[in-house]
């Protein structure tokens, strides 16, 4: 099932004119994500996502690229987390995150049909309809509806993540949903919204209650990116985490990078959805505990 799903994904991207690329798993530096930690590998890092190098390929003139690769994140282990997992990441130059929402709808429908599922999936006894369009809900509205406090208040209290996992995510239901427009502190590599400079063009895709994909309209302003990295690096330092080396080559490349949309989708969780499994352990050949 997993293999058939991955083959269907490849067919979709090849059919839509994307070039499959490979970037090194051992990298010199990474985006200074405050809450994602890398494993060190003999003076390098195992990448936590292929984002910076794939953007350098965009800057070099590759306009539509995708990659299926293993990623590594320290100390992430749970029902939905493995410290080594498979990510599908793709970029499309000249597009924005709205285009990616449409493309996600098409992608899941294409894979479902390819696997003989038609336009719906069954997940934990509930029918999930993949028919377009899927619901689009802003993060601010989600806090108003389900959070019990406003988005601004939650940010002030430092409780954004806690309210997101404890109250909002469980209330989103099983049907496909795009949670969109995050506060700027929650999207260091995303472009600001034109009419609200405190928010960025980012969405997360949820199906069957699973957070499956994260997407941005990419930030291509070199100086703004440098500032945002500095803020995130300061946050990492505040938490006592080791700094990553400067991201100079990436920042230099940004000057040549076109406007683009980019997205990362968790293949293991997508396999959980299609196989109707409750634990990520059920869709991999070996868990870390079985090695």
């Amino acid at each position: 099932m997993r293999a058939a799903m991955i083959q269907a994904l490849r067919r979709f991207f090849i059919h839509h004119g994307y070039l499959e690329v490979e970037t090194p798993n051992r990298v010199a530096t990474l985006a200074p994500e405050p809450h994602i930690d890398a494993v060190v590998s003999e003076g390098c890092y195992l990448h936590t996502s292929p984002e910076l190098l794939m953007k350098r390929l965009l800057a070099a003139g590759y306009e539509k690229i995708f990659q299926i690769t293993r990623c590594y994140r320290k100390a992430e282990r749970g029902r939905l987390h493995l410290p080594e997992f498979t990510l599908l990441e793709w970029y499309d130059a000249g597009k924005d995150y709205r285009h990616l929402m449409d493309e996600c709808e098409d992608l899941f429908l294409a894979v479902a049909r390819d696997l003989g599922r038609g336009d719906s999936l069954s997940c934990d006894g509930v029918d999930i309809s993949l028919k377009k369009p899927w619901e689009r809900l802003s993060v601010a509205e989600a806090f108003r509806r389900y959070g019990g406090v406003s988005l601004e208040k939650a940010l002030d209290l430092g409780r954004f993540d806690e309210i997101m996992v404890e109250r909002i995510e469980p209330a989103l239901g099983p049907q496909p949903l795009f949670l969109c427009d995050y506060p700027i502190s929650r999207g260091a590599l995303a472009r600001r919204k034109a009419f609200d400079q405190t928010m960025v063009e980012r969405f997360e895709l949820y199906i069957g209650g699973l957070e499956l994909a994260n997407a941005f309209s990419e930030l291509v302003d070199q100086e703004e990116q440098r500032d945002r990295f500095e803020q995130d690096s300061a946050e990492r330092a505040r938490q006592g985490k080791d700094p990553y080396p400067p991201q100079e080559r990436f920042l230099e490349a940004l000057a040549f990078m076109p406007e683009a949309a980019g997205i990362a989708l968790g293949i293991d969780r997508m396999a959980m959805l299609f196989a109707d499994k409750k634990s990520i352990d059920d869709v991999v050949a070996f868990t870390p505990e079985e090695l």
Binding site: H35, H81, D161, E162, E166, R186, N214, Q239
Partner: protein, 186 residues
Amino acid sequence: MYSASDLRKNLKIQIDGEPYVITDFQFVKPGKGQALYRCRLKNMITGSQFDRSFRSVDSFEAADLQEKKMQYLYKSEGKYTFMDSDTYEQVELTEDQVGDAVNFLVDNIDVEILFYGDRPLGVTAPNFVDLVVTQADPWVKGDTAAGNSKPVTVETGYSLQVPPFVEQGERIRIDTRTGQYVTRVK
């Protein structure tokens, strides 16, 4: 000291001077957000349970627990008495504290008593115990209709399923962790 990433089911930690065991554990993390370690905690003294979420910056002391080998002596007025055979020191545990181990307590058996400081909290029976079958229906050889197992009762009053050839008066070995029959012993 434990950090949040050490948290897992059955880990024993100390909060506000009391020992807790984690009875249920979930790692949750929103996209690009902070990890939360959602725990159900059971107070090892009072047995009360509650849910609490921890963050990756939280740290915990290990619960100050020790196991000591002691001998089971007798039961009297709902209390179970155990003795340290080196020091002759005795402790009493309640039925709740003894828990499922009661099924495997025969006189003079050596068990592990769990202590928090001076306070006894629970009993762990040896992984395997040999007990005498005190009640079993006779087996008629060739009676295939009876199925692959039958119920018997052992000297402690514990009942379990065993293969049909086990007879009254025989000794059987039981895995105390699962409560299941292992083999006959001579």
